[in-house]
Each structure stands twice: as C-alpha cells, then as structure tokens.
C-alpha cells in the first residue's frame, strides 16, 4: 500500500513538474501557428487636395516585405480615378506599391477634398498587422501644377 502511495505521489509530482513544460510547449506551438496564419486585408488610400481639383498623383505604400504580399490594386471612388492605377512592377517585387494615375478631364470633372484614389489588397502573415507607410511623391492639378495635398490610409476588411 505504502509502495502504491509512494508511486502515486511520485506520479503526481512528475505531472505537476511537467505541467508547466507542457503549457510552455503548447504556447510555443500556438505562437508558431499564429505566426504562420495568413490574413487578407484591404487598405483604402485617400488623397486630400482640399479645394483644388486633383488631376494626377504618385504615391508609395509599403510594408515589411517578409510579411506582406500585395494581391491587387483597386481603383478609387471618383469617376476620374475609377480605373485601377498602374503600379511599378520592379517596386512590387519588394512589396512596395508605387502608384501613379492621371486624368486629363477638365477641372470640373475632377475630385476635390478627401477622395479615395485606390484600395490596396494584400495578404500578411503573423498575429498582428504589420506597420505600413504611405508617402505621397507628388500631386498635380489639371494644369499640371504641383499642389499641396495630404495622403492617408485606413484599413478595410479587418481580419478576424
């Protein structure tokens, strides 16, 4: 009986000693799986040209190349920028999206104020959304003059 008790006590001791190790292993595995998880997300790109009609822009959107893969570029909300902008194929190989678009329509048919000029669709890995950056290279009005604008982006279709 005492041998059995001794065996049972040893077993309990072993189990309680192994428990944290098991938990740690499980946590490690969970972290690994989470890191491998693939998420899809869409980022709306806005350009605010205030009261000046926006005729052209060039901007750069980028994220960490080892976590992000660009999967599509959508056109903007205004008719003038509805066609998906062209991207630089060399930059996209580093998951940098250099977008450029222009419209030769008269100023009355161009957007003013804050307008969505594109949506970038992408896939990223890991439990958290990586940091992205947006840089506006240039923007111009219908006369081809450089204008002061502000570019921003927000995430749409947040992953679950």
């Amino acid at each position: 009986m005492s041998t059995l008790n001794l065996f049972s006590a040893s077993l309990r001791l072993c189990v309680s000693a192994l428990k944290p190790c098991c938990y740690l292993m499980l946590l490690f595995l969970a972290a690994q799986l989470s890191a491998q998880q693939l998420h899809f997300a869409a980022f709306d790109i806005f350009v605010d040209s205030k009261n000046v009609p926006l005729a052209a822009y060039q901007l750069e959107f980028s994220g960490p190349a080892d976590h992000v893969r660009i999967t599509g570029i959508e056109g903007g909300q205004h008719e003038a920028f509805k066609t998906p902008p062209f991207y630089d194929p060399k930059a996209i190989q580093q998951e940098r999206v250099i977008l450029a678009a222009f419209n030769e329509a008269p100023a009355t048919k161009l957007p003013t104020g804050k307008t969505r000029v594109a949506t970038i669709h992408l896939q990223f890995t890991g439990p958290q959304r990586p940091d992205f950056s947006l840089k506006l290279h240039t923007a111009a009005d219908s006369e081809g003059k450089s204008i002061s604008t502000k570019a921003t982006f927000t995430q749409r279709g947040l992953y679950e």
Binding site: P20, C22, Y23, L26, L27, L29, A30, L33, S34, L38, F40, A41, A42, R69, I70, T71, G72, I73, E74, G75, K82, T83, P84, P85, F86, Y87, P89, K90, I92, Q93, T119, H121, L122, Q123, R156, G157, E160
Partner: protein
C-alpha cells in the same frame, strides 16, 4: 487558471490547423457509390455532421471529419478515374440551365468579348471573360483557353460589379499559394496561369450564386505578314491534344465532368456531341493601316464591316457566328504590299526599344532555285479525320502535280507510328507522281498522334546532297509534347528545311510556328474553308527562289543591342521578318541588310525613320526575349534560364510559364461555407470529331 486558458487557446489553434491540413491534402475519403463505376471523390462535412451528397458525384463520407473553423471553406472537387463516371451537372441544385437540342449544360462562363485595335503591324487586344454563377451555391470556375502564341499578356483586371481590381504579376507558385489561401478563406480571387505560350488557365474562386465577375486581359502582339497580306488571328478554343503515354506534362483532353481523367497537369473538358453551353463570343477589330487598305477577307467567320476612311477598317463578328469553336482570322492587304511604318520605336525610363520589318531584297526574286527533294509528312491521326485530312491531301496532291521532273519526293504518314511510300525519295516523273497520288488516296486517319515518329522518319531519311531538302509537315498540331518535338527537330535538322502547314480551324499555332522557326522554314495555315491549292501555290512561289541566309543588319551609327530573334531567320520571298531590339542615343541614318542567296551576297538599304512610335514595344521586346530564352531551354535546360525568364516577366509585368497574375478582393468574405469547382467545358473545334479525339474508347 490563466495558464489553463492559454493552453486551451493553444489546443484550439492546433486543432484548427489540423483541420486545415486535412482539407488541403484532399484525402481520399469517399467510398464508390454503387452503380457509378469507381469514382474518386473528395468531400467534407459542414457543421461537424456527416452529409450525404445529393448529386451522383457527391459522396458518402466513410469517417468523421473535424468541424470547420470560422475561417475555413469547404471545397468539393470531383475527380473521376479513367473509367469513371461522368458528372452531368456540377453543384447540387438550383442552377439556371441553357437548353439546346434537348441537352442542358449549365456553365459559369457566359460570354467573351474581344476588342482589338491594330496600328501599323501591332495589335492591342482586350479580352473580357464574363463569369457568372448559375448554381445555388458558390463555385470556383476554371477555364482553359487559347491566346496567340506570341501574345505579351501584361494586364489583368478583375471586375466585381462597379469595382475593378488590378491583378499583380507574381512568381507562379506564390500566386497559386495566395489564390488557394484566398479561396479557402472565402475571398473572391482570380488567378491566370500559363500552360503553354498559347494556352492559359483562368480560375475564379468564390463566385456567389447569381453573382457575375468579369476578367479583363490585355495583350499585344505583332501580326503575321505574308505576300502583302496582314493576318490578325484570335483563337477561340484549344483543340484536343494527344499526349504520348510517357508524357506527364501535357495538356489533357477529357469529356465534360471527367476531371483528372487525362492524368495531365493541364486539362481541357469538352462538350459532348449535341451539347451547347450558353457561352458565346463577340469580336470587334479596328484597323488603322496608315496606308490604303486594298482588300480584306475573313474566310473563317461571317462578319460585318465599316470602312470610314481608306486607311481604316472596322470589323465585327456577325450575330449568327457566335459559337467560340474556331480561330477568327482576318486578312487584309495594303497598298504597295509594304508595312507602314516599317520601323517603330518607344522610349521610357527603361530605355529605347524598336521593332523593324526586314524585307527580302528584290534581287532575290530573280534567282532560281536548285533541284528540290520534297518530303511530305501527313498527320493521319484521329483528330485529322474528315475534312482536315481531305484538305491536307488536296494540298499534297496539288504539290505533286506541280513538281519539276528534276525534283524528287517522298510521302510519310504517321499516327501511332510512321510509315512511308518508299525507302528513298523518288524522281517526280509522271509515273511516280501517279504512284504518289494513289498512295495518298489510300491513307486514312486513325489513332493517336505520335508526331515524334513522323519527325524521325522525315529527318532521318537518306538525303541527296545535290538537292535542297524541304520537309512539308501537314498537321493540326494537336499534341501536348511540343518541347520534345522542338528538341527532335533541332537535333536532326542538319541542312534540311522544315515547312509546317497547319490544317484545320483551330490548330496549335505554338507548335507549328515553333517547328518552322527551329526548322529554318516557314509556316502556312490551311483553314477548312481555304483554297488549299492557292496556299500551296504561294508556298511553291516561295521555294522557287533561294532563301536569303546568313542575314546581317548593319545599324550604321545607331547603338543597337539585345536583338531578337538572336539569329535572324532565313528570308523567303514574300515573307518579311520582324525583329525587335533596344537602342541608345538619338538614332538616325540608313540601315543595311546583307545576306547570301545561291552563292551570291545580296545587299539592300532601308532609309530608316526613327520617329514613329508605339507604346507596346517594351512588352513586345520582353516577350520576344522570353521566347528566345524558352527556345534555349530546348537545347540546354538550366535553372538559370528559368530564373532569367521569371525575372524578365516580373520586370515587364508579363505572363510566362513562371509568372502568374493574381487578384484578390479582400474587402469581404463571401457568404456560404461550401463551394464546388466547375471546369468550363468547351466545344471541340469545328471539323474535329469528338469520338476520335476526346472519347476515343
């Protein structure tokens, strides 16, 4: 307590991953349904319960399957073995059907719209494929379709309602991986892959019931220009390919619903006789020839046209001709029989690009040919049965009757194996010609297309060094082992010249062009409605004068690099060659072309105007370089060449064997948790019999 909670989360994550892997490996879970042969099906459960599929191709699961997580999708892929059961309809129920001749075939491709704009000798073509979902559950549509073999495909846009998403060019494996993941997670996605330079597969995942998704593809290519006629071709259907038993990278041909039946990585499903899907096609071509268009024709289709100016022409496919089952071929001849402008340039941040038409010098026409040794090789496989064989025989018959007595000839035919009229070429005496005609009459079509046997028989034949050997290969080119054929021609050609003749309504132009290029000859096409005699007559005119060989271009003061094709092909009378390259600086001055014909050196001068431009030249140049690299892989297939092709395609945003376009709409997951893959079955080309090509058993 907190630790236990973390452990629980970890376990859940692991189980989710296991469930995902179980699905991705698409394990064979199904038991064959009684009375349905031995089908192999893949399926899973929804909501953690067993589900008995309703249609014949759905299965009863033999063991439990884990409950799907919220992020998982269920995809049912039918797979039927060689002797398996065909699936008459795809998803379970509720589909909108097309009823034609009593046969109902619901398919997800509704319409193809083609808009081509031709300027000088370059065509810019936009193809819109309109997919829809006529079923009651979401689907993945898979469509294998043809494009011209020299198409530089550089734009891909997925349209969902009013939204347009530009596809991104990526390495093929990476694009496929993204597509699979997007499909599993329920996002609408599309993927374009290249099976051959002239065969592509379009996949569109998660099309919800009643929804429509359009795919827009843009490409550029140079037009063929023969005997003063421009030729614009839009292929509409992939003909059923024969793959030798040892081939594992071919393009399979199976009946509708027999997914996987060919055992080849790429596969085309064909509608059975009497079946018709709702898929139709519209074609509109605008030509701006820059010089007066003297005449035009379209022997393949009924068309309507408008000619607002002498240099312009607009052509539409007539409404009664909308079944996409044969190549659309528009030919037009311009004043002066010369392309204008013959030199085009383009300059952007990548540098200068040009394209030049090199014409055979006029002096070449004054030279007479040597005695010939003509070897006619006739494809007598099952796909040639009926009208194609009749056309091919008519072409050979005309040739035999028009040979000179000092020429020699021989006839070889092949299907499963090759056989020939005699052991060596015989003089074209009237008696021998009669023998040849009798032999020709006795040939019938049957069996597979072991083209390699025909190539070996033709090129390994004893050769008379006193004569020029021309091998005339008449075939529809319906094979899946093109590379093997190119390689065999390259190894055996020696001093022979190979002329390929594509016979049929929807021939394999990639094979035929490649055979002629590697065989240092030329290609011609004989549509079933063409006058075969006229085509052979122009071939005889071509070979009645010696070819200009060792062609060199002296660019004068212009700094020119990276010219493709790397070696300028021999120039035959009536067949100019288009070359593309890069240039630096501000070019000007004349260009000098030299070559040798009948032992003489011939020279011609071109007064080059470097001012005419075309924006597609960078893409066309890159596509030409890809073709050149692909051809080099035939001689020496190295990973370095693959990397070069891939990098070039990525840099120039082009489709290739190693790059694909991917587009994902990540703004929302589609509704519904199960989906079915529906291949788009296509008609066999006009003049081709289903029984002798697809369903040979």
């Amino acid at each position: 307590m907190k630790t236990r909670y973390y452990a629980f989360i970890a376990l859940t994550a692991i189980l989710t991953s296991c469930a995902r892997q179980s699905q991705n490996t698409t394990a064979r879970l199904g038991e064959p349904s009684p009375g349905y042969g031995d089908p192999e099906y893949v399926g899973a459960l929804e909501e953690g319960r067993h589900e008995r599929a309703r249609a014949s191709h759905f299965m009863t699961l033999s063991r439990p399957f884990p409950r799907l997580s919220r992020t998982e999708e269920l995809w049912v892929i039918t797979r039927v073995g060689s002797g398996g059961q065909t699936a008459d309809d795809y998803p379970t129920s509720g589909c909108i059907r097309t009823r034609v001749n009593g046969r109902e075939v619901p398919l997800p491709l509704k319409h193809t719209d083609v808009k081509a704009s031709i300027s000088a000798y370059i065509a810019s073509v936009q193809v819109r494929q309109e997919f829809h979902n006529p079923f009651s559950e979401k689907i993945e549509a898979v469509y294998t379709f043809p494009l011209p073999e020299n198409a530089a495909v550089n734009e891909f846009i997925m349209t969902i309602g009013e939204r347009h998403i530009r596809g991104i060019i990526r390495e093929r494996e990476e694009a496929e991986e993204i597509y699979r993941e997007a499909k599993h997670q329920g996002y609408t996605a599309s993927l374009l892959t290249q099976e051959r330079p002239n065969i592509f597969t379009q996949s569109v995942a998660n099309i919800e019931p009643g929804r429509e998704i359009d795919i827009n593809i843009t490409y550029f290519h140079t037009l063929a220009f023969v005997d003063g006629w421009h030729e614009f071709v839009f292929p509409m259907v992939v003909g059923p390919r024969f793959n030798p038993p040892y081939s594992h990278d071919g393009v399979g041909a199976v009946g509708r619903g027999r997914t996987g039946g060919s055992g080849q990585p790429a596969e085309v499903q064909y509608l059975r006789p009497g079946e018709r899907s709702g898929h139709d096609i519209a074609v509109h071509v605008d030509v701006d020839a820059a010089v007066k268009i003297e005449e035009f024709n379209c022997v393949t289709h009924k068309i309507r046209h408008e000619a607002p100016e002498a240099e312009r022409l607009s052509v539409w496919l007539a409404k009664e001709n909308v079944i996409p089952n044969k190549d659309f071929v528009l030919r037009y001849r311009v004043a002066g029989n010369r392309l204008k402008p013959g030199l085009l340039t383009h300059r952007d941040e990548r540098g200068g690009f040009f394209s030049l038409v090199v014409y055979p010098p006029r002096q070449q026409q004054e030279l007479r040919r040597q005695p010939l040794e003509l070897i006619f090789v006739l494809d007598c496989s099952g796909s040639m049965s009926g009208q194609p064989l009749k056309q091919a025989k008519a072409a050979i018959e005309w040739s035999l009757k028009h040979m000179e007595a000092r020429d020699t000839f021989q006839i070889i035919n092949f299907s499963e194996s090759a056989s020939k009229m005699g052991r060596a070429p015989i003089p074209a005496t009237p008696a021998n010609v009669r023998r040849g005609l009798d032999y020709l009459k006795s040939l019938e079509s049957e069996g597979g297309t072991m083209m390699i046997e025909g190539i070996k028989a033709a090129l390994d034949f004893p050769h008379d060094p006193g004569r020029l050997r021309f091998v005339c290969f008449l075939t529809d080119g319906y094979i899946g082992n093109e590379t093997e054929i190119f390689s065999a021609i390259d190894e055996r050609l020696d001093s022979s010249r190979l002329f390929s003749f594509g016979v049929g309504t929807s021939v394999n132009r990639y094979l035929l062009e490649g055979m002629a290029r590697i065989g240092r000859g030329a290609v011609a096409y004989v549509d079933l409605k063409d006058d075969a005699e006229r085509i052979m007559e122009s071939f005889f005119t071509r070979i009645s004068h010696p070819a200009l060989t060792d062609v060199q271009v002296d660019w004068g003061d212009v700094d020119v690099t990276d010219i493709f094709p790397r070696t300028i092909p021999d120039l035959f009378v009536g067949r100019p060659v288009i070359i593309t390259g890069r240039y630096n600086g501000n070019p000007r001055g004349a260009i000098r072309v030299t070559g040798r014909a009948a032992g003489e050196t011939i020279e011609s001068r071109l007064s080059a105007n470097w001012k005419a431009t075309h924006p597609a030249l960078a893409s066309i140049w890159a596509r030409q370089q890809i073709s050149d690299l692909e051809e080099r892989t035939i001689r020496n297939d190295t990973p370095r060449l693959h990397t070069q092709i891939k990098q070039l395609a990525l840099d120039y945003n082009l489709m290739s064997a190693y790059t694909s376009f991917i587009a994902v709409d990540s703004t929302r997951r589609t509704a519904g948790r199960r989906g079915t893959t529906v291949p788009v079955a296509v008609p066999v080309p006009e003049g081709v019999r289903y029984e002798t090509t697809v369903d040979k058993d």
